[in-house]
Structure formats: C-alpha cells, structure tokens
C-alpha cells in the first residue's frame, strides 16, 4: 500500500517576502509553528535561489528545504518569484519528488486563478511599483476563493492516495 502524504500547512510568500496566505490543516496544533516554518524557510529558499542562479537553473521546484520535528518542508518558486512552501507530515518512507511537485502545481494553479481575479485591483493603487499589494490582497480574508482552493487541495492531498 502506498504511503499517504499528509499536508500540514501551506504558505504563499510574495516576491518581497511578504506572506500572502498561510493555511494549516492540522487540528490542535499551533499555527505559530507553521508561521515560523514559513518564515525560516525563506532563508533556505534564498540559499537555493542563489545556488540556482549560479547554476543557471530555471527549475521552479526547490526540493526539500529542511526537516524539522515531524514535518518536512518543501519549497517551490513560481516564475514570478512567488514562493510556495508546504509542510508535509514526516513519514519514514521515501517521498517522491513527483508527488510533491503535483501538489505544488495544484497550489500554483490555485494561486494563479485567484490572482487573476480582476476585482483584486479594484481599490489597489494604480502605480506599477506597488504591484505586490494586489498579490497580498489575494490572501486576505476578504477574498475567500483563494483560501477555499488551497483548503480543497489540502483535503485532496490527504484523501487521494498518491500514485505509487
């Protein structure tokens, strides 16, 4: 029987390292932990990015960032430098990159669809250099669709057995 991945938390971080959305799917656990994880991951992501630039890699998937207590933290950076960080429950089994990548792609799609919402720009300042405010707005509780999409993915990861 193939092992199941369990998604503990998802974090979207803007290119300027502002958190866009942090969702946790674990009951009874401190959210603080996942906020910490998301925040500290940025350091590791920075290291990976530097390495990626050095090797001229354009890979979005940043692989396992680090493991900590009972979670494994994976990173992904969209071509527009939005960082997606997920915390998977740690299992003593090989986690295949392909599976993680599937989750990341789904999350990326959810993010893209949410940011495409034209109404996000409704009250945003029209100046270009402040553009990331719109990204941040996507994660605010005012816009439920993004949260819902991410939650759906979180649920789906838990239910669907990852193809072995």
């Amino acid at each position: 029987m193939p092992p199941q991945l369990r998604l503990n938390a998802v974090a979207f971080v803007s290119p300027q390292n502002h958190p866009i959305l942090i969702r946790t799917f674990v009951q009874g656990q401190d959210e603080l932990k996942y906020h910490y994880i998301a925040h500290t991951s940025l350091d590791v992501i920075d290291e990976r990015i530097t390495a990626a630039i050095a090797s001229k890699s354009t890979e979005c998937y940043l692989n396992l960032l680090y493991t900590m207590e009972d979670v494994a933290v994976y990173g992904y950076m969209t071509p527009l430098k939005v960082k997606i960080i997920i915390a998977l429950a740690l299992t003593d089994a090989v986690v295949r990159d392909a599976d993680v990548l599937t989750i990341f792609r789904a999350l990326h799609t959810a993010y893209r669809q949410s940011v495409a919402n034209p109404f996000l720009r409704l009250n945003a300042p029209i100046d270009g250099y402040n553009d990331h405010a719109i990204l941040l707005a996507a994660g605010s509780p005012k816009w439920k669709a993004f949260r819902k999409r991410v939650d759906d993915i979180g649920k789906a990861v838990g239910v669907v057995a990852v193809s072995a």
Binding site: Q29, L64, E69, T91, A93, G128, L136
Partner: protein
C-alpha cells in the same frame, strides 16, 4: 570489517635466488616508491563514461604470503580481497640461461597464476642498463630473451611482458613508465572483469527478489561487496550509488512489509542512545546482517554511516548533515510506534546525542578540507539544523522534567502525539540515559538551562555564520522565552521588544504580534510602569493585531477581544499620563476617509464643515479626544478641520469636522490626526511628485466660497500718482459678523515690502486701526461694513501684476474664543493700462506738447479727460488744452492710440520750474461695461425684487455673452447702447430678468453718467532747450530790396537767379535756468542741397554767433533748375561746441532746436521766359486766282 583498509593487491614473484639478492630489494624499494598509482582511467564495460581514479594505493605482497583459503568463504567479499595482478620478475641474460632455468620457473608461476579467475599477470624482465648500453651481440641476445618469453607465454594479443632497464645506481623514474602503465592496465582490466562478474551476480540476485527463499540480507552483503570494491578503487561516487540503490531496495522491502530477514525494529542496548551515530564499527553490523538478526534500527544506522563515510570522502559534508537530520527525524517517527518498548526518552536522547556527535564528526572531517565561502555557509547551515534538532530534544526533556512550561515556543517541538510524562518516567530516564550531561540536566534545573542555552547559542552561531538570519531569530525568541520562564524578565523584554522589528518589515504580522504579545505580558508581569515605551509596544501590537494574520496567533488569551479591550483601556490611562506629545504615525487600526469631497458651509457662521468616516478596526471602543484633518492649499497654506470626539466604536464612525477659518478653493488632503490625550495618531497623505506621476493622485477637497464670510480684496487705488509711493487698497468686508479685531497681513512672494505704518484708512466712518511693522489691525467693525485702507508699498513697477498673500486673523464678537484665520491669495495689477509718449514742439515762447496714450494690453481703454495741470499758475506757465470737449470719451484701442495736445506759454527765467502734472481720467472698457451691467441688472432687480438671488447669475450670463462676441463694441463706443449678442432668454424668471436688463442696456447713455473713473497723475517736466532757432529763407524782389514785401510782383523763372535772404532768429527763451547767464552761442547754418531743384549761390554754409532774440541774416542767390511748384531748401542750424568747456571728456554742445519757418512755403517757378517768333505764311496774292 575493515573496509577502509581494503586496498588493491598486487602479488609479485621471482626466482627464489633472485628474491634473496640485494638487487631485488633495490628493485622492490624503487617499485614501491612509484606507488600509489596516479591517474588511472577506467573505461568500464558496463558504465557509459570513463572514470578517472586520481590516486590508487596498491599493496604489494609476495605471492607466497597470499593465503588461498579465503576462496572457501561463502560470504561475498570485496573483489579486492584477491589480488588483481600477479607480477613475475626475472633476470635472464642470455637465451641459454633462459632455456635452462628461467623458462621453467616462469612456466610454473604462469601455471598457478593464469588459472585464477579475474586476475591478470605480468612478466617483468629486468635488464641492467650497462647491458643495454652495450651494443651488438648483447643486444641481439637480450631481445631474443624477451622475444622468447613473449613467444612462450604471451599468446594472445595483450602484451603482458615488459622489460625494465634498471640499476640501483641509475634510479631514473622514467624507466618505470612502461612497467607502471602495464600495471595500471592489468589492474583495471582485472578489476573490470571481476566487477562485471560481481554485478552480474547482484543483478541475478535482485531479479530473484520475488522468489521464495530470497534473502535481503544476503543480497545486501553481496551488493555491499560491490560498494566496498568500488570504494577500494577510490571510486566513491560509484560506491555511494550502490548504497543508495540498497537503500531504495530496503524501502521497497519495507513497503512490502516483508521484514522477516530482520530482527526486531530495535533492540536498544545501553549505549545506543549515545554512541556516535556515524561510527560504522561500533557494532559488528555485518555479522548481524549475515545472521539475519540485525535490527532495523541498527541496519538503518549502518547504512547511513556507510553512506556518510563515503560522502565525507567526497567532501560532501553538507550532505552528511542533511542526511542525518532527515534520518534522525524520519526514523524517530518510526521509533515512536514502538516507544512503549523503549526506555523512556530513548528517542530524544538518541537524537540529541546523535545530532551532536554528527556535528563533531563532520567538524573532524572538515578539518583538512578548505571550503569556499558559500560552501562553508551551507555546511554551517546544515550543522545548525543538526544542533537545532538536538535543541528540540532539550525542549521535550525540559517540558517532561518540568524545567520548561508546556506552551509555545517550547511545546512546538513536542511530537504530535505527546502525552505529559510522569515523574517516574523522568526519574527512570535519568538513570537509563547514558549521556551524562543529559542525565544530570534532567535532574538539575540549572544544569539543564545552561545546556539549553549553550546548545541554542551554538545553533544560533552556526545559523548566523550560514547567513540564516530567520532561523537565528526564531532561536533568539526561544531563548527569550526561556528567560521569561526563568524570571529574567528584563532580558526577555529586551529581546521581545527588539524581535518584532525583524518581522514587521515584510509583513509577518503573525509572528510580530506574537512577539509583541509576549512583550506586553512580560511588561505586565514585571509590573513595569506603563510608560511611553509600553505605549509603543502596545500600539505595535494593536497594529499587528488588526492585520488579518495577527489575530490568528493571539495565544495567551482565550477571549482576545476582552484582552484587547483591557489593553485599550490601559492605553487611555497611560496616554493621559504622558508628559509630552507623542506622535504615532500610520497606525493601521484606524483609518480616516473623507466622505464628501465638497466641504459644506457652516451657513450660520464663518467656516465650513467636512464629513469624514473613521474606521476603527479594533474589536472594542477606542476612547479618543479629538479628530483633525489638515488640508493643504496653495502656497503651503494649511487649514485644519477639527471635532471633539469622545470615542470611536468598532467599525464606521462618521463625524462632521468644522474649520472656522476656511478660505474657498481646492485643497489636498495633507494629514489626519486622531488624538488621545497627548498621544497622536497621525497619517500623512501628502504625495510626492514621484507618486503623483506614478498615478497616485492626492485626495482633493473643495471648499465653496462663503459669500457672507469676511472677505478681503485688494485694489489698485483709483488715483495713481506716479512719483509718489505706490499704494494698494485693502478692502475688508466683515460679512455676517461683528468683528472685534481683524489683523491683516500682506506678503508678496516677489519681495515687495508693505509699509503698514504709513497705511491710511479712507472713507467715512473709518474704524479705529492699530498699526505695527507687520500688520494692520482693524478694530470694532460692524456687520456688513466695508473698510478700505491704503497701504503703501515698495516699488513694484517691474511687475505687471503683484501677487499678494493676505492673512487675516479675526475674532468675531459672537465667538470671542475662536480666532479665525483667513488666507487669501490675490493678484493686483501694478502696471498702468496705458503707456504715454510725449512730443514737444517749441515755437518761440510757446511749447506744444503732444501726449500719445496707447494701451499696454489688448484691452480698450476709455479716456474721459486729460488735463495738464500746472502746480502753480502764478509762476508763469500757462497751459491751454486745445482739445475740444466733445466727444467726451475717447476710446484707445491697441490699434488706435489717443493723442492729446497742449499748449504751454511760459515766461523766460523761472527760478524753479515745477513739473507739470498730466491727469488722465480713464477706465478699462471691461470695467465700464461690467459696471454698466451691474447697474442695469440692479435696476432690473429693483423693479422685480424676486430676482435678487439671480442677480449674480444674470451678471455672469451677460458678461459671458459679451466675452464671446465683440460685435457690440463698435455700437457701444459710438452711442453708449449696449446690445448684448447671443443671449436668448428663456421664458422663466431668469429670462424675464435678463430681458429687462438687456432692455435697460440697450438705451442710449453717456458713458460719463455711470461707474467710477480711475485717475492717473503723471508728472511731466517742462522741457528745456538752450537755443531755439527759427530759420527762414525768403525770396526777395531783387537783391537790393531788404524790405520784406508781402507780395511778390515779379514772377520767377527757371534758370534765372533769384535773390533770397536767409535769416536765423535765435531765442534763448527755453534755456535751462542754470544757463540763463550765457549770452551767446556759436552756431552754424547749412542750406540743404537740393541738386535736382535748386542751385545755391552765396554762403551756403556759415558760422555765426547767436544771441537771444537776435536775427542773423545772410543773402544768397538761388537758381531754380526747372519750373514748377518748388519747395525752398531747408536750412539746418546746429550749435557748435562751447569752446573750453568739457563734460565727461567730451565737448559740450548746447541743446538746439531749429524749425523752418518757410517749411510749408512753395514758390511757383515759371518756365524760362523769352521771345518766340512765329512766322505766319500769308500766301501769294492773286497769283492763282
């Protein structure tokens, strides 16, 4: 198993006799010195690329010493266990000797060696160099020995015989090259064959995995032999690959839950929890594996240790750390399943010791390596992770032993399924845990804290050197939390107040809020005074709290709203105790927006009202005192709307703010402020130019004009007298209020100074004023009163217009507490609308002055009258205006200037000639028409009082109509009738009013009958002239008649001489007073050459002395060159320089003006007279008849 010692084995053999010689020993030593081998290029048959082995250590053993019994073992050993190459060394100087003995020896050796599987052999023929040097026969012989050997043994293509030309005294490395190459080839070839074979075995075994009877452990040992073989060949990467494959296979087996080949998951021995993780020798792992009794725990540890050992040889220390972290965390989870069977805290203790031991081991490995900077950083980061992992175990220990509270951040490290352990377990653990420092720490609080702090600091240090700031921050946070628990509140407070600054810049409000929340709690716990610092922490906290994510993590309180409400209440108290104003910019909990961008007038009093909405995002009411909005107008003027407010409820609060002193205009929102006692929440809204360019436009607020509020206007005085200080008229109208004081200040950006001290109030009923250097203050003004004050100012003639900023501070009698401030910017014209040119014509005692008035703008100017006034009639200047009184008003247009002529008659020799004054009474056409319209509309309104409110509209409509079409101007100019073009009144009240007004306008009227006239007084100097010459050329009847005959009787003929008399009458009448003493001037006359008309004979040019009133005359003769009506030549008269007088290094020429008395005269010249004879033929009488 000593796999590290595994080396490639090469055997050597030689004839026994030879082996015992010194010569052999020398050869052996020299050969050994050539080792280890370098730069082997292995072209593997099963691998796609060439592997290069930098260095390969080779063990030389004698063939005899090699034991053959190992082949008996069933356990697959490394293929390097057996020799890869066998060398036979022999000396044979001639073929006879070879045939006799050597061949036999070689044959024996070859027989044993060639049978062996996967081994190569090599024959080395040692030759003395002196032999090779000697040519000829020996050479022949020598070759023949090697050839023979080759022929006998080397049957296949591969050359396995080599000659070594060597002697002890000539130890040249070059001689070894051939042999070494052969050795390399041999080793690689043998290795390749052996490895291929072994790989084949492994593959076969793997393929049988699903078959019954397959044993993972056997497979493991087999495959591991591959790895150790590769490792022995220094092919670490390939060796590592084998272990990775093994690991993968293991997981596959694990997934199939087929662990029958293993012992229990773990059989903890006493030292397991602290033995160095990466030591492969700490247990007889291979034996355990072979016995199928190895526990999964041990197996995994062994696998990891082997991998790490290989990684360390590759220098991949960072990966070692990462692997161990991953292993420790993942395997710990597996162990959790069987936690009950383990000693208490075995897992934690194991992780702790292992993590730290790995760090030490890595440091050990890293010592000889020199890492580049970035690699070192990531290595440090990886080590940091390990140390942090160890630290997390301390969290667990601490909570279990009640050294730490079970709450974040310590509780974050607890496993998901953690249950609070019993005292007994801790007690027991302190005995079972073998790591001494942990055991004592469990028992002793202080030791534990010390350990905790030192481990944490170690992790922080590593993270910092790795550049992982955020990890370090997190650990700092936990140290602070420890400080809190230990009661070191001030330390903790310091950390917690400094940490949020690291989280806030990137919007990590959740973490920021957590830190601030901590800081507040500590502040409260430490019972520190709620001072300014506390307020700042609190405000930061509230700011993070209202952020979406901030709320998520409010940990210490169940009912966060009540908690915040309590804080806010405390904030109020604290704010009241502040000893100085404390601004707090841009707090996000409150936001203010302007509802209506058009301010309303207060109507009943001066001032305007502005509606704003304040959005309070806090969950509780916020007590405040005052709300203020500042607007910025032109020239940096600011007005502020304020309102006293008691509190802000959560959500929207709508307020109407009042500003008592609001000048009309458009303003930008500058700043907003909400005050709570001395705490001021401030927001700046002013935009920089860059922001505006980027499209972030400022918020605009329009304040309408209050027509009934106090107003100040500036006018040009209606009478301008050039030469006296310029003045500006300040017209102040009180509007609806009785004004107690009104202080007016004027300032001009162009730097014009106003002299308030010289200001004068004009008009009847002038109120008392106070004057100082900076302002003029009007006192006790009645409602609706207009005061006019003339304020002199410095010269502004270089500007056409003067921009004046007016500031009025006034206090009404009804609201004596409010000082209203009115800022206005007015423009007042300083330039005159007309330009004046003067031309003077002297005629004897009279002077004719012509003034040309032209407009300086495009506007028409109406001039009612001009007067040239003499200041004093008695001093002898008599001015006569020669302008007729009708038409009374002259219109000056840009195309048509107006000319005004005056005659002056002055006596000679006034002591002082005061300047005359030209007084022009004028007005602009626009002003005139506007006042006419006002008049007409006023008349219409007085007939129908209901129109009063439409008055301004009517005026505006009419003025606009006149502005758009200029066709009315001409008719108006002539008749005074104003026909307004293009207005089509509707059938309503306004229309009726307009019709009536237009009717009134359409009547004929004299422009002098209405409106005000402006006046300019211009001083005009009476011109002066030293000499006034009147030249006359007079035709005389004959050369001798001196008398001036009034009537000339003789006609003039062309070509005939005509006598003429030139007279120049000079007058010093207009001589400047200072030069009246001069009696005569030297002068010169010059008759103009009119070569087409006249020939002049006589003194055409000459000098003479002019005296006042005297006439100089000279006769000349003129000859007209043709007949016709001819003008007489003109006479130029110039003054000569006054001899001996110099001014400014040039000669002084007195002023002189000449007029031609005969200028208008012409003479009729007849054609030359003479007789003409006409012959008339009378014909011959009767000849033909």
């Amino acid at each position: 198993m000593a796999s590290n010692a595994q080396r490639v084995v090469v055997t050597y053999a030689a004839p026994l006799v030879f082996l015992s010689t010194d010569h052999w020993k020398q050869i052996y030593a020299s050969l050994a010195s050539q080792l280890p081998l370098r730069n082997l290029h292995w072209k593997a048959t099963t691998r796609p690329t060439i592997r290069t082995i930098q260095e390969l250590d080779v063990k030389l053993v004698s063939l005899e010493t090699l034991r053959e019994d190992q082949t008996a073992s069933q356990i697959p050993q490394s293929i390097l266990e057996k020799p890869l190459l066998n060398i036979y060394v022999f000396i044979c100087e001639d073929s006879e000797a070879y045939k006799a003995t050597t061949r036999k020896q070689i044959k024996d050796w070859h027989a044993t060696v060639s049978q062996r599987k996967n081994q190569e052999w090599l024959l080395v023929h040692v030759v003395r160099p002196d032999q090779s040097v000697a040519q000829g026969r020996l050479f022949q012989m020598k070759t023949s020995v090697l050839d023979k050997v080759k022929a006998d043994f080397n049957t296949d293509k591969k050359d396995r015989c080599v000659q070594l030309v060597w002697s002890a005294d000539k130890d040249n490395p070059a001689v070894w090259a051939d042999l070494i190459t052969k050795i390399k080839d041999g080793i690689l070839s043998a290795f390749d064959t052996a490895l291929t074979q072994r790989e084949e075995e492994v593959r076969r075994s793997e393929g049988q995995r699903q078959m019954p009877g397959w044993n993972f452990c056997t497979f493991f040992i087999l495959k591991e032999s591959l790895a150790s073989s590769l490792e022995g060949m220094n092919l670490y990467e390939d060796a590592l690959q084998q272990y990775y494959e093994l690991e993968a296979t293991f997981f596959q087996v694990l997934r199939e839950k087929n662990l029958s080949w293993f012992g229990p998951l773990i059989t903890p021995s006493s030292s397991d929890d602290y033995a160095p993780l990466l030591a492969v020798t700490k247990k007889p792992y291979r034996d355990l594996i072979l016995a199928n009794t190895i526990s999964v725990f041990d197996f995994r540890v062994y696998l990891l240790a082997r991998q790490c050992a290989l990684l360390s040889k590759l220098g991949e220390l960072e990966e070692v750390c990462q692997k161990t972290v991953a292993f420790l965390t993942t395997f710990a989870r597996t162990l959790r399943d069987v936690e009950d069977t383990l000693p208490p805290f075995f897992i934690e203790s194991w992780i702790y010791s292992s993590a730290l031991s790995v760090v030490d081991q890595c440091d050990e490995w890293a010592r000889p390596l020199e890492m580049p900077k970035n690699e070192l950083a990531s290595f440090n980061a990886a080590k940091g992770e390990l140390v942090e992992l160890a630290r997390q175990q301390l969290d667990v220990f601490g909570i279990a032993a009640h050294h730490l509270p079970n709450q974040p951040p310590f509780s974050l490290s607890l496993p998901t399924s953690y249950s609070i352990s019993k005292e007994s377990q801790v007690e027991e653990a302190s005995k079972t845990i073998s790591k001494a420092e942990l055991a004592t720490a469990l028992k002793d609080k202080d030791t534990f804290y010390e350990l905790y702090v030192s481990v944490t600091n170690r992790a922080i240090e590593l993270y910092v050197s790795a550049g992982r700031r955020k990890f370090a921050l997190k650990l700092h946070g936990s140290l602070a939390a420890l400080d809190v628990h230990r009661g070191r509140l001030s330390n903790a407070l310091q950390t917690f107040t400094s940490l949020p600054a690291h989280y806030s810049p990137h919007g990590w409000t959740s973490l920021e809020a957590f830190m601030l929340n901590r800081a507040l709690d500590i502040h409260a716990a430490a019972e520190k005074p709620k001072d300014r610092e506390w307020i700042h922490i609190l405000l930061h906290f509230l700011r993070a709290y209202v952020d979406d994510m901030g709320k998520d993590l409010l940990l210490s309180n169940e009912d966060s709203e009540a908690y915040v409400a309590k804080l806010v209440q405390a904030l109020k108290d604290a704010a009241h105790e502040l000893d100085s104003d404390t601004p707090y910019p841009d707090h996000t909990a409150l936001s203010m927006s302007i509802v209506d961008h058009d301010a309303k007038l207060a109507e009943t009093r001066d001032g305007s009202l502005l509606k704003v909405i304040i959005y309070n995002r806090l969950p509780c009411e916020l007590p405040v005192d005052e709300v203020e909005v500042q607007l910025a107008g032109r020239e940096n003027s600011r007005i502020s709307f304020t309102e006293k407010v008691s509190q802000l409820v959560p959500g929207k609060n709508e307020f109407t703010l009042f500003c008592p002193s609001s000048s009309a205009g458009t303003y930008t929102l500058f700043s907003t402020e909400i005050s709570l006692a001395r705490l001021h929440f401030q927001w700046k809204h002013a935009k920089t130019t860059k922001q505006i360019r980027a499209g972030s436009v400022p918020t605009l607020v329009r304040i309408p004009r209050d027509t009934k509020a106090l107003d100040v206007r500036l006018k040009q005085p209606s009478r301008i007298e050039l030469g006296t200080p310029s003045r500006v008229m300040v017209v102040l109208w009180t509007g609806r209020n009785d004004v107690a004081t009104a202080r007016v200040q004027l300032s001009a950006p162009s730097g014009i100074q106003f002299r308030y001290q010289e200001a004068e109030v004009t008009g009847e009923d002038a109120p008392p004023i106070r004057k100082d250097d900076e302002s003029i203050t009007f006192l006790d003004l009645k409602q609706g009163q207009t005061v006019v004050a003339a304020v002199p100012h410095s010269d502004a003639s270089s500007y056409h217009f003067m921009r004046v900023n007016i500031t009025v501070d006034y206090v009404t009698t009804s609201e004596p507490d409010v000082t209203r401030n009115l800022r206005l910017s007015r423009v007042v014209a300083t330039a005159l609308p007309v330009a004046i040119n003067v031309e003077d014509f002297f005629r004897g005692t009279r002077l004719f002055t012509r003034f040309t008035l032209s407009t300086t703008t495009h506007q028409h100017v109406r001039v009612r009258s001009t007067h040239l006034l003499s200041p004093n009639e008695a001093d002898g200047v008599k001015v006569t205006s020669c302008l007729a009184q009708k038409p009374s008003v002259v219109t000056i247009t840009p195309a048509q200037p107006g000319r005004f002529l005056f005659q002056m008659d002055a006596n000679r020799g006034q002591a002082v000639r005061d300047p005359l004054k030209l007084q022009i009474s004028y007005r602009m056409l626009r002003e005139e028409v506007e006042s006419l319209i006002e008049l007409a509309v006023g008349e219409a309104v007085s007939e129908t009082p209901a129109l009063e409110r439409l008055r301004q509209d009517m005026v505006d409509i009419l003025v606009k109509a006149l502005e758009t079409d200029a066709s009315w101007v001409e008719l108006y100019g002539v008749t005074g009738e104003l026909v307004v073009p293009g207005v089509k009144p509707d059938e309503d009240e306004l229309g009726a009013g307009l019709r009536r007004a237009m009717e009134i306008l359409n009547t004929r009227r004299s422009p002098a009958s209405y409106g005000e006239w402006r006046e300019i007084v211009i001083p005009v100097d009476v011109p002066q002239m030293h000499i006034l010459a009147a030249a006359r050329l007079e035709i005389l009847e004959n050369p001798f008649s001196h008398a001036k005959s009034q009537k000339r009787t003789r006609p003039l003929y062309a070509g005939q001489p005509i006598s003429a008399l030139l007279t120049v009458t000079t007058s010093f009448h207009w001589t400047p007073p200072e030069d009246t003493q001069v009696e005569s001037y030297a002068m010169r006359y010059d008759i103009e050459d009119l070569t087409q008309d006249w020939l002049v004979s006589g003194r055409k040019r000459g000098d003479f002395v002019a005296k006042d009133g005297e006439t100089f005359s000279v006769p000349i003769t003129l000859i007209a060159l043709h007949h016709g009506e001819l003008a007489l030549p003109k006479v130029g008269v110039t003054a000569l320089p006054i001899p001996g007088e110099h001014r400014m290094r040039s000669t002084v020429i007195p002023g002189c003006e000449t007029h031609q008395v005969h200028g208008a005269e012409k003479v009729l010249v007849l054609p030359r007279g003479g007789r003409s004879t006409f012959v008339v033929n009378m014909g011959v009488a009767n000849t033909s008849m």
